[in-house]
Symmetry: C2
DNA sequence: TAAATTAACTAACAATCGTTAGTTATGCAA
DNA sequence: TTGCATAACTAACGATTGTTAGTTAATTTA
């Protein structure tokens, strides 16, 4: 098959990037992990930065699509927020290493990919903000600072992959359930 | 004065690292930001990695000390957790750029500094875990997965600096108050 | 079977990296 | 005024970076 080897390269790159960061992984490191020489990589890919942008943009698009579905659904605020958490948990489980680059190495994207990424991220956050704002208006959500709520929840969801990749013994559905309680209802017994 | 220039170098390095990441900032970049040549830096510092470890370890020690005080205080669980949040907010406001390196570039530390850092981090998390476990036992905290609670709250607190450095118009005390509500009591209206 | 494609290789490139050596101008202490 | 420490400089080092050129062996296609 055609792009079969390219998929292997992308998967290996994603794993190495997630362990050491984009800039700390050389093309020679990547090649060695695949059992070939660095120059041979260029039979399959164009450049190192192509690896990063392919990894990052693919996940970013997945988030964008997921969020668009949630926004257009006619459900209550709490259901929308739970769907957002499910989206993050699902992508975390399926694309753990890709998420590392999205969270930590997006700034090393070059134009025009950088702008494309930043646009998607802004759009995603804006949709999230809308859900929260509407929730407050409908009195389904506490009247707190929107930006603090947004940032706080997103931080936890975005870091999920780095925690999940180390911790075993918790299923996707259990993780999802726990996260919903912690993020939405807090931890203090009342 | 003696180490005056070194402080300038450290502050500038911290700022650049927080913008681009440790590996993406060269000694020539750093020198240029200070208006001198790269070689001149070595009149004041020993190496690039010394910059990183000084920045990271100094903040890590501040967290360690703060947590040790909290642990040994004879207060209720909720008060302890609020004190932890205050600690993070305070350091975020005071050492925003240093926190970036601690969160994102600690893996580029070399031994023995790396082990020292990892020990402090483990210790910090373990103390945090103890607070949560005791809270559950005393029924002051919901009986949820300890690791999920720990990871979720810490993720938000650790990312605080990257959000705070961009958002103006919120005071330290207001931020602290909002974070306590969001992290401890959740956002859903009940 | 002959031709063409694929995917590996060796060798090397220009650029950049952190760092060292040696030099020079400045300003303070003796 | 002389001597010394400070902090800048220029020049260069060996190592490593991403990448290209050219070659070769194996496999697929005609």
């Amino acid at each position: 098959m055609k792009g079969e080897r390219k998929e292997e390269i992308l998967a290996t790159a994603s794993m190495l990037f997630s362990e050491r960061g984009y800039n700390a992984v050389s093309m020679r490191d990547l090649a060695e992990a695949l059992g070939i020489k660095a120059a041979s990589l260029y039979n399959h890919i164009d450049s190192k930065k192509e690896l990063l942008s392919t990894i990052v943009l693919s996940v970013a698009e997945e988030f964008t699509e997921g969020m668009n579905e949630i926004i257009s659904s006619k459900t209550r605020t709490e259901e929308k927020l739970k769907a957002v958490i499910d989206l993050h948990v699902k992508i975390t489980v399926e694309k753990s290493t890709d998420l590392y680059s999205l969270n930590n190495d997006w700034m090393h994207l070059k134009e025009p990919e950088l702008s494309y990424f930043l646009d998607m991220r802004s759009c995603y956050e804006d949709n999230f903000r809308k859900i929260l704002k509407q929730g407050v208006k409908l009195k389904e959500i506490e009247k707190l600072n929107i930006e603090v709520m947004l940032f706080s929840i997103l931080s936890s969801l975005r870091r999920l992959n780095q925690w999940y990749s180390k911790k075993k013994g918790i299923s996707e559905s259990e993780l999802s359930k726990q996260m919903k309680h912690v993020l939405l209802k807090g931890i203090i017994q009342n």
